[in-house]
Symmetry: C2
Subunit: 163 residues, 2 copies
């Protein structure tokens, strides 16, 4: 694959990240909003747009949240969000929660996702985390194989409740 | 049940919270450390003790983390940790992650856990969260029924990797 770098997202990356998040059958089945937000494009409510920008600013300002992009020659080809949670369990070690992992669909199977996850696990070790965890929809069987190959154990049941 | 109040934990609650976290077969099978930490008791390394106090201070200072206790007449009878994660997914809504849910074992089945979860879900709604989520060990079949009865859907596979 081309040289890929992993870095913290900037405001300029937000439209590309939203494209990655929404270009997904399962996400589409879950969200009622069409297409991207926070981009000023038609079809997106101003309210959703403002909420996405506010979320970006909140993540950007929070030392325990990192929005990451995989960048190939200036193009955003992957993303994930890392949240570092302090915890009294497991001898007081911080845990890293990984959410919103996506790779551009025309680039899958080339190792971008694997390289991004290995990079994220290095970030966690660098911070002294004792544990990395994530949940993935039960329908994403390819993702299950992907995480198992990275050494993750499907030891937990993941419960969600829409509010 | 007796009058139960739910509140943010103080330093004075930490030993009781650690007792709840460690008095659990699955947690014991996972952690190598015996008994409670952060209490100055014998059998606990000073390193683990310091890490637990540091974790408490980190949670206490973080506006996106809340360590909660269920308090009956001054006794800690339950605990959970709430983490509010800003997110670009799901139209920019914050999500609440619930971790480390425990109820004192001699008080189970009296509704303390259910009342604590309903209280936590109200906290999430108050903050405008779009989603509440948690993972629970696949061996905790009682917990699976408990969360399903609260309306949670076991839609996700929960992966963990020790670092």
């Amino acid at each position: 694959m081309a040289q890929t770098i992993f870095r913290t997202a900037t405001r300029a990356d937000v439209p590309a990240i939203l494209d990655l998040l929404t270009n997904d059958d399962i996400a589409r089945s879950r969200d009622s909003a069409p297409g991207r937000s926070a981009s000023g494009q038609t079809g997106v409510s101003e309210e959703a747009d403002a909420a996405c920008w506010a979320a970006f600013e909140a993540i950007d300002a929070d030392p325990r949240n990192e929005l990451i992009v995989a960048d190939e020659a200036g193009a955003v080809v992957g993303t994930c969000q890392l949240t570092f949670v302090p915890s009294l369990s497991r001898r007081g070690a911080e845990r890293m929660i990984i959410e919103a992992v996506r790779v551009r669909d025309d680039l899958r199977g080339r190792g971008v996702g694997r390289a991004m996850m290995l990079w994220a696990l290095d970030r966690a070790r660098e911070r002294g985390c004792g544990l990395a965890q994530l949940t993935t929809d039960k329908r994403r069987t390819d993702a299950h194989r992907f995480y198992a190959a990275l050494g993750f154990e499907p030891s937990h049941e993941g419960f969600k409740l829409s509010l």
